[in-house]
Structure formats: structure tokens, C-alpha cells
């Protein structure tokens, strides 16, 4: 621990500082609770790294600005909450189609509309997956501690560069505003995928969308190389082509570049799953309560396990299907009215009891809520 710095950091602050560590040098946003502290930290810190901060006129412009910055050769990020995230969806679709690496942070609050700005929610997990129109790939990460925020915003940038895709980084009000102590990872511990920023000679032909595999060539900076980018269906040169075979080929490749690499993208944590009879599934801040409840239940001799996905999309279906094979019951806890549980339901085997545990009152699901749900499901299991 000698060369690692001990910090007491807010979640939003960790998001901004982790992004800078990942190489982010451009940030555009419009202030919104509970994400404003990310913008405040970026405004203060980015100039120290020769980076640029700009407050835009709204969230649509913010999203467009970070896509533009990325095309120009700079790692970029924006941060918002539900209302702003809704406005950004069209640009997320463009970034997905044009394969522009960039990171969108959504610090969730209770919605829809203005909702409860100062209370946490997990109501945007499906919007993160399907908010923009058309078939499109997306990667969504959602940590549950401040240290994980710092570490995995770096992962978000890496995945964005590696797969040339927008990555959505979900947080919630509680995670954004709480402060926790931890040791910052040392540079040796961190892998950071750099952005290629070299000049391309006049003789070299660079095809930003050319690939024999699913993942295209790394993005080169426009201005240092000549290429075309379009939100229209395009061929490997980037120029629009309206033929059906190209459309089908492109959309399937976009889908496959994420789908076929799900195992590489999936990050999750498991606790005491080897002998469990009841599986808890929880993510984000709710996973904190789940872990506390698990410890209490285990002390009482109840065989409970926990699956905590950090990669929410692509959904870690393969691993969960295996885990669910050996349990009698699954509890899916979410601060929404039941979103991820629909994905879990697709994986259930006949006879498995699947129970939702939901809150939408702006309060965190507590360990006591979990213990009550565990007691109830045990009663139901004993009835059979």
C-alpha cells in the first residue's frame, strides 16, 4: 500500500478523476442533479491536463460535442441524469452507427421527467440498452462502490476504444453523492488503451470501417487522416451505400462485435454461490444492501448467494443461466418496478421461483428488505 494514495472521494468526483486517468481530455455537459459534481470536477481538473471543459447549451449539444471531439482524436465524456439522458439518445445512436468511442455517464434519479432529482433510482437500465432507435450494440457498466466507479470508468473508456462504440456508465444518486475511503490503484495496476493519434501519410488509405473481423480498425483522428463518417448505412470507406446487402452486413457486424465478445466485456462479482439455495441478483447501490443481507442470512445458516453484474449490457446470460440451474429461488432487487428481472426471467428453468424486490420511493432497498424477501421466499418454498 506504500505507493498508493489513500483518498476519501465522492462518487461523482471519482467518476471525473477516473476518466481523466483513463485519458479523457474533453468533457461537455449541461449541469443537472445529481451529476453536476462530475462537471464541477472536470471544470476544475481538466485544464491541469491540457484538457478542455465546455458547458453546452443543452444535453443534445453536449452529446454531439463529445462525439465531435472523439472524431477529432480526443477521448471524451459527458455526464447527465435521466432527463438529459433522454435528450442524448439520438446522438448515442449516431455514435453507435458511426462507431465513435465515447462515454456517456447517467447518474440516475427518480423519474420520469423531473421526478425526484435528489433521490436514487435504477429506472434507466432499459433506456441505457434501448434508448436510441434501431438495432444497435451498446455496452453499459454500473458499479456499486466509489472505488468501483474510479476503476470502472477507466474500464468504460477501454471498452469504448477497443470495440469502437459508445459506452454508457450508469450510476445512481446515492453512489454519485456518497463519499468513501479507498486506496487509489497504482499506475502498474491500471491498463489504459491509448487513442492512436499519429499522422497518416498521403499514400496510406485508411478505412475506418474496414475489417475482416467484427471490430473495425482503431479510430484515427480526423484532420490527420482523410475519411468520411455518416449515420447512413455505409461501406468500409464510410460513404453511404443504400443497398440491402450492405445494410444487413453492417447491422449484423455492429451487433456481433459486442455479442460475440460478451465474455470479454462481462464483469461481475459472485459471493458464496457454490452451495447456495437462494440467489440474490442486485446491481449498483442495491448490491451493497444485498451483500450485507447475505452476511446476516449466512450467519443464520441460510444458504444465500449473490450475483452482482457490473456489466449490465450485454447481459451476462450465460453465467447466470449456469448459476440459476442449481438454486430453488432467485430474488432480483432493483430500484425500479422490474426491468432487469425480465432478462432474468428468460433464463429461468421450470420450477424456479423468481421474486422481484422493488422500491421506487427514492429510498435504497435495505438489508432488512432483503431479509424479509428471503424469509418470504423460504416460506413459499416450504409450502411445496
Amino acid at each position: 500500500m506504500a505507493n498508493r494514495k489513500f483518498v476519501f472521494m465522492q462518487g461523482d468526483e471519482a467518476c471525473a478523476l477516473g476518466a481523466i486517468k483513463a485519458g479523457c481530455r474533453f468533457f461537455a455537459a449541461y449541469p443537472i442533479t445529481p451529476a453536476s459534481e462530475i462537471a464541477e470536477t472536470m471544470a476544475r481538473e481538466l485544464p491541469k491536463y491540457d484538457g478542455a471543459f465546455i458547458q453546452m447549451e443543452d444535453e443534445i449539444a453536449s452529446a454531439a460535442a463529445i462525439v465531435g471531439a472523439s472524431i477529432a482524436g480526443v477521448k471524451s465524456m459527458t455526464a447527465t441524469s435521466g432527463p438529459g439522458f433522454s435528450l442524448m439518445q439520438e446522438v448515442i445512436g449516431f455514435a453507435s452507427m458511426a462507431e465513435i468511442p465515447c462515454v456517456f455517464v447517467d447518474v440516475q434519479r427518480v423519474g420520469p421527467s423531473t421526478g425526484l432529482p435528489t433521490k436514487p433510482s435504477q429506472g434507466d437500465v432499459m433506456q441505457a440498452r434501448w434508448g436510441t432507435h434501431g438495432d444497435h450494440p451498446i455496452i453499459v457498466l454500473y458499479p456499486s462502490t466509489v472505488e468501483e466507479v474510479y476503476r470502472h470508468i477507466i474500464t468504460a473508456f477501454n471498452l469504448s476504444e477497443r470495440f469502437r462504440t459508445p459506452v454508457i456508465f450508469l450510476m445512481d444518486e446515492l453512489l454519485g453523492h456518497m463519499r468513501e475511503s479507498f486506496y487509489l490503484p497504482s499506475d502498474d495496476e491500471l491498463e489504459i488503451i491509448p487513442r492512436m493519434n499519429d499522422d497518416i501519410s498521403d499514400e496510406e488509405i485508411y478505412h475506418p470501417f474496414g475489417t475482416e473481423m467484427e471490430i473495425p480498425n482503431p479510430l484515427r483522428a480526423m484532420g490527420k487522416s482523410k475519411f468520411h463518417i455518416s449515420g447512413l448505412i455505409h461501406d468500409e470507406t464510410g460513404f453511404p451505400v443504400g443497398t440491402s446487402d450492405i445494410a444487413s452486413k453492417l447491422l449484423k457486424r455492429l451487433e456481433n462485435k459486442i455479442k460475440l465478445h460478451t465474455d470479454e466485456i462481462s464483469i461481475y462479482e459472485e459471493y458464496l454461490v457454490d452451495d447456495m439455495e437462494i440467489l440474490l441478483i442486485a446491481y449498483g447501490s442495491v448490491a451493497r444492501s444485498a451483500l450485507r443481507a447475505l452476511r446476516i442470512a449466512r450467519n443464520d445458516g441460510i444458504k444465500v448467494g449473490l450475483f452482482k453484474p457490473i456489466t449490465i449490457w450485454p447481459f451476462p446470460s450465460n453465467r447466470l443461466r449456469k448459476l440459476m440451474k442449481n438454486v430453488d429461488a432467485v430474488i432480483v432487487a432493483e430500484m425500479n418496478l422490474g426491468q432487469i428481472i425480465k432478462e432474468v426471467a428468460l433464463l429461468r428453468h421450470p420450477g424456479l421461483k423468481l421474486e422481484p424486490l422493488n422500491r421506487v420511493d427514492g429510498e435504497l432497498i435495505t438489508p432488512e428488505d432483503f431479509l424479509e424477501a428471503i424469509a418470504n421466499i423460504r416460506l413459499k418454498l416450504n409450502e411445496f
Binding site: R179, S181, R288, S289
Partner: protein, 109 residues
């Protein structure tokens, strides 16, 4: 976990495990209930078995410190491990709160 004792000259609250967003509000209410919200004696908090405190836990300690002070009493904290010592130093709370190495030193003053 939370244990409470009332002695002749002070109250003693012993915490264990994590003191964080998942239990800090409940523990605060339990302490206030035990002392009937009166702050008629000094309040000692034993953190010997506490391994982790987040901002909400620190918020509760600061709130109790202010209430003790308003009532002419002291909040006395003892039993900090190395990580907690570092946390209190980093946040400069070691300059504001009354922190002691041991229970004996806390009651000595």
C-alpha cells in the same frame, strides 16, 4: 451491530462491522432513543470493532458531536484502527472531534 450502556458519568455506545449508509441512520436513532435525546452526560463511542466508515457514518458522528457541544457535553471516540485513523486525519476530523486511543484515556479526561 450496536450495544449500549449507561454509566454514572457517561453513555457508552459500542459499534461493530461497517458504519455506513446502510445502517448509520438506524444507529443514530438508536443512540438518540437510548439517551432520550437529553445529552445529559458525555457520549463515548467505541469504534474498536468498526472496520469501515463512509460519509453517512461520519455525518452521524459530526451531528452527535454538535449536539453534545450544544448541551455542554462531549462526544468521545476511541478505538480507531489504522485505516480509520487515516480517514479521520484525511478529513481533518481528528482536529474537530475528541479522539482517544483507548476507553481508559477517554474517561480519564
Amino acid at each position: 451491530m450496536f450495544e449500549f450502556e449507561e454509566k454514572e458519568n457517561f453513555y457508552l455506545a459500542r459499534l461493530s462491522g461497517d458504519f455506513d449508509v446502510l445502517n448509520s441512520g438506524r444507529i443514530k436513532n438508536q443512540i438518540l432513543e437510548k439517551i432520550s435525546n437529553t445529552f445529559s452526560k458525555d457520549l463515548l463511542i467505541d469504534l474498536t470493532n468498526v472496520s469501515y466508515i463512509d460519509s453517512s457514518g461520519l455525518g452521524v458522528l459530526i451531528g452527535l458531536h454538535k449536539q453534545c457541544k450544544l448541551n455542554g457535553r462531549k462526544l468521545k471516540i476511541f478505538g480507531l484502527d489504522k485505516n480509520l485513523q487515516e480517514l479521520f486525519s484525511l478529513t481533518s476530523l481528528d482536529k474537530i472531534l475528541n479522539i482517544y486511543d483507548t476507553f481508559e484515556k477517554a474517561i480519564e479526561e
